[in-house]
């Protein structure tokens, strides 16, 4: 990985884009980049399961919401600092995914996809009625909390920096998985699970590990997002809509590639952001975005990166 030119290129591009708000000091740019990096992290982590292993997960956002809740709970009720809370939340969601994976990854195809939707709804209903997490009202941080990080403005920059680091790590892990024996096992499962088992891939274990790995990062992002938000409620934490949007991003960019989720997330978010604030489209943006997505899915089913790699074999060495 460290000798791969492609990895350094990815790192340089992401770091360059991620540092641009820091260099210009622009808060608007930072907010835009915050959303993009958050979506890149969500999409890249989803890609480990969706792209490499070929398991459609509609409940990816459950780890984002639950991670946010666990981190928020530790900060709000136990006065933890943001950093240990973030790590603890990530580990907790990964552990949960590991336990869940042992059970539901015995399902394949549409049955697994349905089970993931069920998990999202079940966790949301549980949290909405779980008093330590504030029930339906959720929890909110007192504004004074931000003083511990040197004031609200600085806290936002810190959260952004942490997110940037997290996004880089996620993409790095995604890259490493793709080029490892573990990743080969996942892709063998994607192509033909039965054949993979015959060839000696330890199916259930490998799949469960992939699921746990893909749950680690959303859990941590959730804490950063809701820390910045200042409050957390079940409706915002477990939005099935966001799960589906993340799926679209991965499909748009190209599933099973490292760059696909990055490009898909950035394009999708920029497009939505533009349509939302453009005087011309702001009343029609959902219809417009929908029509555009339909066209892309119809004509370029492999996603943008997939199409690029199929059409121009030369770029395969660089664009992974």
């Amino acid at each position: 990985m460290w000798r791969s030119g492609s990895w350094w290129l990815t790192l340089a591009l992401l770091l360059g884009a991620g540092l641009s708000p820091v260099i210009t000091g622009s808060a608007t740019l930072r907010e835009d980049m915050f959303l993009i990096l958050m979506l890149i992290t969500l999409a890249s982590s989803l890609n480990i399961l969706l792209g490499y292993t070929g398991y459609v997960n509609f409940g990816h956002i459950v780890f984002f919401g639950l991670g946010g809740y666990i981190g928020f709970y530790l900060m709000h009720r136990h006065g933890w600092s943001l950093w240990p809370a973030t790590v603890a939340a990530g580990l907790a969601t990964a552990a949960l995914a590991f336990a869940l994976g042992m059970i539901i990854l015995r399902l394949r195809g549409a049955y697994f996809a349905l089970a993931t939707i069920g998990i999202n709804e079940a966790v949301r209903a549980f949290v909405a009625n779980f008093e330590p997490f504030g029930g339906a009202t959720g929890m909110s941080l007192n504004f004074a909390v931000y003083q511990a990080y040197g004031g609200a403005a600085r806290a936002l920059w810190l959260a952004y920096g942490a997110l940037l680091a997290l996004a880089l790590i996620t993409v790095g892990i995604s890259f490493a998985v793709k080029h490892s024996k573990f990743g080969l096992g996942l892709m063998a499962i994607r192509e033909d699970e039965d054949a993979a088992l015959v060839l000696g891939v330890r199916g259930p274990q490998v799949k469960t590990l992939a699921y746990a790995l893909s749950a680690l990062f959303p859990g941590m992002v959730g804490v950063l997002f809701f820390f910045k938000n200042g409050n957390i409620e079940p409706g915002d934490a477990f939005r099935l809509h966001l799960s589906i949007e993340t799926l679209v991003m991965v499909m748009l960019g190209g599933q099973g590639t490292v760059w696909g989720p990055i490009l898909g997330a950035a394009l999708y978010e920029r497009l939505r952001g533009y349509l939302l604030t453009s005087p011309l489209f702001k009343n029609l943006h959902l219809a417009f975005a929908g029509a555009l997505l339909l066209m892309i899915i119809l004509f370029v089913p492999a996603g943008f990166i997939g199409w690029l790699r199929a059409r121009f074999p030369v770029v395969r060495r660089v664009v992974v």
Binding site: S26, A27, T28, R30, E31, D32, F34, L35, A125, A128, N129, G135, A136, T137, G138, S140, L141, N142, F143, A144, Y146, A152, A153, L156, F225, K228, N229, G230, N231, E233, P234, G235, D236, R239, L267, R270, L271, G273, Y274, L275, L276, T277, S278, P279, K282, N283, H285, L286, L292, M295, I296, L298, F299, V300, W307
Partner: protein
Amino acid sequence: MGRWMKISGILVALAVLAACAPPTPPAPTATPMAPAQPQPSPTAAASPAPAVKTIVLGFTASQTGKLTKESKEQVQGLQLWLEDLKRAGGIRLPDGTTIQVELKFYDDESTKERVQQLYVKLITEDKADFLISPYSSGLADAAAVIAEQYGKLMITTGAASDSTYEKGYQHIFQIYTPSSRYLTGAIDFLKKMDPNAKRIAIVYENEKFSTDVVKAAKPYAESQGFEVVLFEGYETGTTDFGPFINKIVAANPDAIIGGGHFQDGSTLAKQLFEKKVPVKMIALLVAPAVPEFAQLGDAAVGVIGPSQWEPGAKYSPDTARAAGLPWYGPTVEEFVKAYKDKYGYEPGYHAAGGYAAGLVLQKAIEDAGSIETAKVKAALEKMDIMTFYGRIKFDTEKAHGKQIGHEMVYLQWQKDASGNLVRPIVWPEAAQAAKPLYPLSR
């Protein structure tokens, strides 16, 4: 052939994407003109032309998503305020400066991440001087964090949750009566109308605002000698209340209170009517106060709703004088007429709240004689006025910015002599415009 179609499809998609990709912000529609004003002539210094300043008032509106109906009313109210202000020639400060106001808003899709992103944009890029909150407690709460972080004043309207004001914010000021006082009047009403009614069922949307309301209403009902026989939340977006209605019937209550927002509240009212649930009173949040509730027809009759304000509200310069408060802004009749002329129907309280938010800010700028945040903030803290919308006074202590002057009214959908649906105020008694329909005949 298929190949060409594919390629041209891709090209079109890419071209559209390329056209959209650069994140250029839309050009501001008006630029601040104060420094750029050309001086007519150097000798005119003896009679300086009155300076004109333009301030930007930023907010987001939920044009898509689940809150579109209520948000639209609120924005229309705000736009009407701006029109009235323009007609009056802007806000005049004591030093002769005239302040013109420009509204700047985007669609927040009824989601929090958009709200935060767009409020940062409004503050840093569009240079908004003052902010108005989005509709709903949840979104306003998300916007409040940003406003406070950047030290911008925000008037919240359409946001009633108490909790936002208990987080130590210093720049957020609430127009609505807080949610802890939303349904307490309905309980008083029931007690007055029927001393034999003892059993109340509370059925509510399981989300922030409605939960805040019923959590305050339940102990209040119990303190008034009622028995809460059912206390149960339903999911946001519920469309089939069948199971809940069965539970309600089984609990055999005298009255049902609760609800949530427009969609679920009107569905619940409709299904309660269709199943002929035998209760004497129904009081629901939000939905009955939205004019479209009339589309339910017979199912709307008898339903009571708490309202921040109603066209029949009895606030006037006379009541202000009696209370020893200064009066400000249009009278109730003037506001209702202007709104009806512009939009073709009577305003509900969401619209009035939008108008009042603008009006309160206007008054604060006038009192402060400045558009500086610190001075306007001081003016808001001192404010104690009566308007067409009712009394406005803010808490300045522990729950800074919370509304403590304004009172709720309760309306009831009834049929007038010609069979049209109307919604007169039935509570408090002092403001009663029609005889309450009690008990419901179902």
